[in-house]
């Protein structure tokens, strides 16, 4: 049964690095699962934790936030703030007993097309093992 399950991963990709990395993966014709729905944001720090929770509670099987490597942010320091917020959100997930494996933060640069494909492949495999998001079936959400 679980083999049929194709996860939906919402990806918040920063406009300068990770989105360009995704583009490069595409133009380089790299193969990776079609599970990720990319959303382009100007900076990974634009992602309010509420966006991630919204996606999660509405039944996304996982949420990926990707930005420039630390030190390479187009806005100098945006991704450092992203990392702090993400650390806080992860803790909240853990405290409330929600699956923190369903949220992920990765750094992918504009030149890392193969890395982008690898991240999506690995994460999709992991979520496949984890199964569908239980929030999908919750009625009184």
């Amino acid at each position: 049964m679980k083999d049929d399950f194709e996860p939906t991963i919402i990806g918040f990709l920063c406009r300068w690095c990770s989105y360009a990395g995704a583009d490069l993966a595409g133009t380089s014709r790299l193969q990776y699962p079609p599970s990720m729905l990319p959303i382009r944001v100007m900076c990974s720090s634009r992602v309010d934790p509420v966006f991630i929770i919204t996606a999660f509670l509405r039944g996304a099987d996982a949420v990926l936030v990707a930005g420039c490597h630390p030190g390479d942010c187009h806005y100098i320091e945006g991704n450092y703030y992203t990392r702090r917020r993400f650390a806080c959100l992860r803790k909240i997930f853990e405290t409330l007993g929600m699956e923190s494996d369903r949220i992920r933060l990765s750094w992918i640069s504009a030149s890392e097309g193969p890395r982008f494909a690898q991240v999506v492949t690995d994460y999709t495999d992991k979520i496949k093992k984890l199964g569908p998001n239980p929030a999908k079936k919750e009625i009184f959400l």
Partner: protein, 370 residues
């Protein structure tokens, strides 16, 4: 730590009021911000008062916390500093919220003298309003006993309501004072000079107060740990969370009374949350059913991500919840955990930066996935 000692005359409240009157006389402050009994006599409201004669009904430690003091202070100074000196007499959680709000640029503490007082807790607003006479009697017992279980559950597990950790200018110690006395302990230059001007310099030893408050904090810490582990079992996991918040009627009272939730426009009340019918229909179709009003859990967890780092656990949200959801207990538990990530204690010090305003280049690598 040195402090001044005041002999109690009539009652603790009256003694404190007399002391404050002296401060007004000597022009050490031009006005007081203090809870005063409302004309109907059944509750308390914050009042900015200059006239000594109007202080008769004032109470520095009322049985309930009807409006969070930091909210009152913020409405005075959020557009800039006060041009007159104001002494604000507040509970420790209100002091902590004020410090957080000053970091968030919603309170200007220049010309404000924060006066805190050892707090045994506050009664649940609902219980108190049901029978105010009984409430007043119960609260008398609460002040006497220190550890009485009629105070709000969030107060029973509060470990920051007494002692040296409170960052006010002047602290009034009422716990562990001997022979009908109370302590005045200055914790800043402002507080020190006020005591000197009034003619009671801080020269007496406060060892007894320090010892007693330390013991009290220890008991409270134990209470907190115990209460939180029971609570965590009840709310952990999506199913339990849904059950806990299933009564929520989406009134947003918890948000509107929260001192930390200062945003003029809350995301959860913005146009962003008003979706088209198609959006709901699609969701209903994929699940087969959709509850209305929707997104209550999103509201609560979302609010946690927005304010839990500054949550002082004052319990205003729980008092305001018409459905008796344990909002404050859950939020302060989540707050404790998320604050620990950054080793941050809200309201502990004005110099300590808000965790999301600063960063280090080399940190939190455990949350980045290669």
């Amino acid at each position: 730590m040195k402090g001044a000692i005041l002999k109690i005359e009539n009652s603790i409240e009256k003694t404190i009021i007399e002391f404050l009157k002296k401060g007004l006389d000597k022009k050490l402050f031009d006005a007081l911000l203090i809870p005063v009994k409302v004309p109907a006599g059944d509750s308390y409201a914050w009042v900015l008062v200059q006239d000594k004669a109007l202080l008769e009904d004032a109470n520095p430690l009322p049985p309930v916390m009807s409006v969070q003091g930091a909210k009152a202070l913020s409405s005075i100074t959020r557009r800039g500093k006060s041009n007159k000196k104001i002494a604000a007499i507040m509970r420790p959680c209100e002091i902590r919220a004020s410090i957080e709000l000053s970091k968030l640029q919603q309170i200007d503490l220049e010309n404000i003298c924060l006066v805190s007082i050892d707090c045994p807790g506050a009664l649940p607003l609902k219980d108190y309003l049901e029978d105010t006479k009984k409430g007043i009697d119960t609260f008398k017992k609460v002040i006497k006993e220190w550890g009485n279980e009629s105070v709000r559950p969030i107060c029973q597990m509060c470990d920051k309501s007494v002692g040296l950790s409170i960052q006010s200018d002047l602290h009034i110690g009422i716990l562990g004072a001997k022979n009908n006395e109370i302590y005045l302990i200055p914790s800043s230059q402002k507080g020190k000079s006020i005591l000197e001007e009034i003619g009671i310099p801080a020269e007496e030893s406060t060892d007894n107060w320090e010892k007693k408050t330390k013991e009290f904090v220890e008991t409270r810490k134990k209470n907190r740990k115990k209460a939180q582990s029971t609570l965590s079992e009840k709310v952990m996991g999506l199913d339990n969370l849904l059950e806990t918040f299933s009564n929520c009627i989406n009134c947003h009272n918890c948000q509107s009374v929260c001192p930390i939730c200062y945003c003029r426009q809350c995301y959860f009340e913005s146009e962003k949350m008003k979706l088209s019918s198609d959006d709901y229909l699609i969701r209903a179709e994929s699940k087969g059913i959709l509850r209305f009003l929707p997104d209550t859990l999103l509201f609560h967890i979302g609010r946690m991500t927005h304010m839990s780092l500054s949550c002082v656990g004052c319990g205003a949200c729980e008092d305001a919840c018409p459905m008796s959801i344990k909002v404050a207990q859950i939020f302060s538990m989540v707050g404790d955990k998320s604050q620990k990530v950054f080793n941050y204690t809200p309201g502990k010090s004005i110099e300590e930066q808000l965790p999301l305003k600063v960063y280090e280049e080399d940190e939190f690598h455990e949350v980045e996935k290669p």
